[in-house]
Symmetry: C2
Subunit: 299 residues, 2 copies
């Protein structure tokens, strides 16, 4: 018997993926932020879920309104990473027996604050008894075929951007972040974006997903990585999870046009290089360091 801690979360996912076959209506199955399904002539459907569990993703000391909010926000963030719009959601709840009605009320009020903001219909769900408060939110979204962005499209020479400051999210932002739907839609409606992912497990780990899916490498510049006030060091920004900013790459001509807009919420942090370059961090003296990818794994 092999314990799953031996192969880790991503080892487990790779193992499961090998068992799965899908038909031609599936544009992209597991391995991106959302599944991408054929819908009509001009649109794809996006389908994603995210489960949050007590004592891993939140504690019962956190405000239940914010726990509910986070449960919805993490799934919306997956839709944002594919540049789509969320439409419908289901909420599956595992609830400990001694939970109060008031806690559940607050949980749903938090969820509904976001479903309302993003015009998402909460259309059902399921309730079970469980020892830990557990919330799985499934979201159905939509994206124009021409606007879909996956992890797999980054190209050598692309500029790499993030949508905000990174690190230290665990001190609060993980419960209050705004999913970057508006930013993603602004980008795809005005620019060509080659690859995108949301930073849920840490910058280097999520960037490595783009590099793996795109067969590319990358250089990121230590001085350019925007640190949040809560980050204790550059390392926090590189490796801590739950920032839920978008990480995306676009061709240089597009990046120039984006710079020209003078917007401050898209920060360039590096560039895509050949696969054999790997992933390296450059300091202000131009010294290169190969990055050993570290980030959050459940196992």
């Amino acid at each position: 018997m092999t314990q799953i801690t031996k192969i880790g979360e991503f080892g487990l996912i790779e193992r499961i993926k090998k068992l799965i076959r899908t038909d031609t209506s599936v544009i992209k199955g597991s391995g991106d932020d959302c599944a991408v399904l054929k819908l009509d002539k001009n649109h794809y459907q996006l389908f994603t879920c995210d489960m949050i569990v007590q004592d891993t993703d939140f504690t019962l000391k956190d405000n239940p309104y914010l726990i509910g909010r986070k449960a919805i926000a993490v799934s919306i963030s997956d839709i944002a990473a594919c540049a789509g719009l969320p439409r419908y959601c289901l909420v599956a709840l595992g609830i400990p027996k001694n939970t109060s009605v008031e806690l559940i009320d607050k949980l749903f009020k938090g969820m509904l604050s976001l479903t309302k903001k993003y015009s998402i219909n909460l259309v059902g769900g399921d309730i079970s008894r469980a020892r830990q408060l557990t919330i799985d939110v499934s979201i159905l979204g939509i994206v124009e075929k021409k606007n879909l962005v996956l992890r797999s499209g980054s190209k050598v020479g692309d500029i790499i951007f993030v949508t905000g400051a990174l690190g230290g999210s665990i001190l609060g932002k993980h419960l209050t972040f705004t999913p970057r739907i508006k930013e993603a839609r602004f980008l795809v409606e005005n620019f060509k974006v080659n690859a995108m992912i949301d930073i849920s497990d840490g910058l280097t780990q999520d960037l490595s997903h783009i590099l793996k899916e795109s067969s590319t490498g990358a250089a990121i510049y230590a001085d350019l990585i925007p640190l949040s006030k809560q980050a204790r060091s550059l390392n926090d920004a590189l490796c801590m999870g739950e920032d839920f900013e978008l990480l995306f790459t676009m061709p240089q001509d597009q990046a120039k046009r984006l710079f020209a807009k003078g917007l401050t919420n898209f920060k360039p942090i590096g560039e895509i290089r050949h696969k054999k370059y790997g992933l390296r961090l450059l300091d202000s003296q131009g010294r290169e360091k190969i990055i050993k990818v570290k980030g959050f794994q459940h196992f």
Copy 2:
């Protein structure tokens, strides 16, 4: 503070439903087996999820292959209850840290045995650490507009049917049942079905959902209710959960045509009456007993 055990599972669901508003693209939100969403000229999309949790819905002594199978089967059963076809699914897993890779392999092989059988694409999911093994399966399905069946359509005079024997499912059938997709499709393709639900929480409780949504009452005949070999008494068939047979109602002329086919897998058990009649059980001497609805509730 009010404990949720005070208002019960269905009290909690009613409370949550009051908070929710949906737009006109939602044909049916929470309160049926699936959410029903506009799709195209001739079809609706069905969207549903079911969460199963260790020590409530299965134990770790059960065969992991059958646990995985059940996780998928319960959601397929919801699609069957709306007379649709399942198409895509996501699997969210909460896994205890000391779980073996072999257990997860078997779990997925069990899931994939059913996704293959029903031509469902498993297109993604999520993995979290949890103290109990927890599996939430979301399914997207499709149904022709003309074939959709909800809980709300039963009419006075309808004959009430079930698709198989009831009671004692906990002794094994809950892990091995066949979701009644084939039966549901046969029915809607050949007959007019007014209302349908899958029996997950017990015959009387699930029938009471049809009656509530349809504003009707019902008489069921003790002698007609098919008891499974595992049922210890009529009471087991009336009140035990997890049979996952379909319970449906159709007009008398349709019922006659169905009888004429001589099929043994559709058993008439009673008839729909006026709402004020309530829900009553009739014995072989014609004596009536008002049924106090009892079935499985998580709280």
